[in-house]
Amino acid sequence: MTRGNRILLSCIYWAFVLYVFVPLLLMILMGFKDSKFIGFPIRSWTLDWYTGVFADAEVVSTLTYSVAIAVLSTLISVFVGTWLAVLLEGRRFFGRAAIFGLTILPALVPGIISAIAFRIYARLLGIEPGMGAIVWAHAVHNVPFVALVVMARLSTLPKSQIEAARDLGADPIIAFLRITFPYLIPAILGASIFCLLLSFDDFVRSFFLGGYEPTLPVLIFAKLRSGMSPEINAIATVALVLTAAIGIWAERFTRRANKDAKT
């Protein structure tokens, strides 16, 4: 690789970093504006919006509620999505195309439609609106994303490895757990990030399937009715910092757990 190319690439990279971070910094900045509306010019500053977030018990409980929903629904999606990917990738059977179509179906339906369809179906199944219903809807909606990502990774798994394991007497389950699953872990982690994000950011399904406790996006939408205030920016920033902290902690924790298991 020539030097020029390399410099060009790094320029593009840092331009991209700028593109994704500038709006974020603006958001954090606006949380300090002493006004009920965000935007330039900022004439005076305040810490009230940020301190207000922690003083508001509703915001804090909403945040925990949203995180819990995201984690639970992600676990379900990853389990089902991976299983579907294993079934679909590299296998030929009658109706495979139909099953593939059905697998990605939930991702193809516009939000409002899928929310109403879920609401009607939930009543048919006797699922009460509330946390369980939201988790269910998010899990179903996110399965296609897991299946697609895992299938892509699975398609690159050398068949020879599985065959070798089978030749050595491993049954399909052990072969899966020992060879396939470890190979899929990066894809599964990536898919989990998608799922967590999709669930954490979902408004319309949470609104239709939820009860009287709002998730974070539902709360933000409701607050938006009375204007885009720095309060919303402060809430989003605090949510960002807290979820990032949880993410880093989880990453550290799993890394240490892996180390412990190895020694």
């Binding site: 991209f16 516009p110 409002i112 009607i120 998608f194 939408f221």
Partner: protein, 328 residues
């Protein structure tokens, strides 16, 4: 490439799970387990049934179920059924779509937008993923990737308003341009196809970045070096070696981004201009403004997802043939 990758993962698993071997060894000779496995794997047919039963049941009840409800609604003339009104089945809701330009115009616009934006996202994020995977030390890769993911944790609405603060007449970009004396009066960036594109790519970049990165990361550097030894130029190396080997990442990234961007509602509505109505907005209109038009909304949604599904299918098939063609 498969041999190399196999060798790497092979040694990884062997080294990484040494103490577990006894567990797996123990399990594989544990009588109840072997008996169960014998029963389960008695025939390939039975094996397949066990593998397929749960996921097929899941997609039928969980994925298809809600949509069948919607399909049923799309074929009726009234829903929710007002008391004292009889419900009839009809195809009118579907014929309505083809009858009026105001409906199919946003439909095609959405498909074109989604296609173009998917392509833009690909062009924009490919170099980023390439830089990360090839020019950053392995140790720092994960950290830098995670860094890039941080902004995506902010909700769609809040991020969309941040774009307004960025591009508005008194927004950050105009302030900077003015400060440098490049402009006298603000440039109206907002409420155009441009602002909408900036906003949507901002939402979709992640879904492209991750699959691209994971495809590029797997690619051994030696390949490109070997090609260089043979005298291939940078562009040829990229086109003949890197690109074909990352097709699978491109395909899954594009599929994800295309699917997600056909369903976008809030961002195009908030950032778009007077003539950028997307189909999701048209559909939502039937549910928001007029409560008695659920069937039409449901029919239009059906048309949308059937089309998106067909396009995705064609695209996947195309990518599959491309990949096949390259390995031959």
């Amino acid at each position: 490439m498969s041999n190399d990758a196999a060798a790497r993962t092979g040694t990884d698993t062997a080294a990484g799970t040494k103490p577990a071997r006894t567990f797996w060894g123990g399990l594989s000779v544990w009588a109840p387990y072997t008996a169960l496995m014998k029963l389960a794997t008695a025939s390939p047919r039975r094996q397949f049934v066990i593998l397929a039963a749960f996921p097929i049941l899941w997609v039928l009840t969980q994925h298809l179920g809600p949509m069948l409800q919607m399909l049923r609604v799309s074929l009726t003339d009234a829903y929710p059924v007002a008391p004292g009104v009889e419900q009839h089945f009809t195809l009118d809701n579907y014929t309505r779509f083809f009858g009026e330009r105001i409906f199919w115009q946003p439909f095609f616009r959405t498909l074109i937008f989604a296609g173009v934006l998917t392509f833009c996202t690909l062009i924009l994020t490919y170099p980023v993923a390439y830089f990360l995977a090839r020019h950053v030390s392995r140790k720092n890769q994960m950290l830098m990737l995670l860094l890039l993911l941080i902004p995506f944790w902010v909700g769609e609405i809040v991020r969309t308003y941040a774009i307004m603060i960025l591009l508005g007449n008194t927004g950050a970009v105009n302030l900077v341009l003015k400060w440098f004396g490049l402009i006298d009066r603000p440039v109206p960036f907002m409420y155009t196809t441009f602002s909408m594109g900036v906003g949507i790519v901002y939402l979709t970049a992640l879904y492209m970045l991750l699959p691209l990165y994971s495809a590029l990361e797997k690619l051994p550097k030696s390949y490109s070096e070997a090609a260089a030894d043979l005298g291939a130029g940078a562009w040829t190396r990229f086109r003949r070696v890197t690109l074909p080997l990352t097709l699978e990442g491109i395909s899954s990234g594009c599929t994800l981004v295309f699917l997600i961007s056909t369903g976008f509602y809030a961002t195009p509505v908030l950032l778009g201009g007077p003539s950028t109505t997307v189909f999701a907005e048209t559909i939502a209109g039937f549910f928001h403004v007029a409560g008695d038009e659920w069937p039409t909304g449901a029919a239009f949604a059906t048309i949308m997802f059937v089309t998106a599904m067909l396009l995705t299918g064609v695209f996947q098939k195309l990518m599959y043939t491309l990949r096949k063609g390259d390995t031959k």
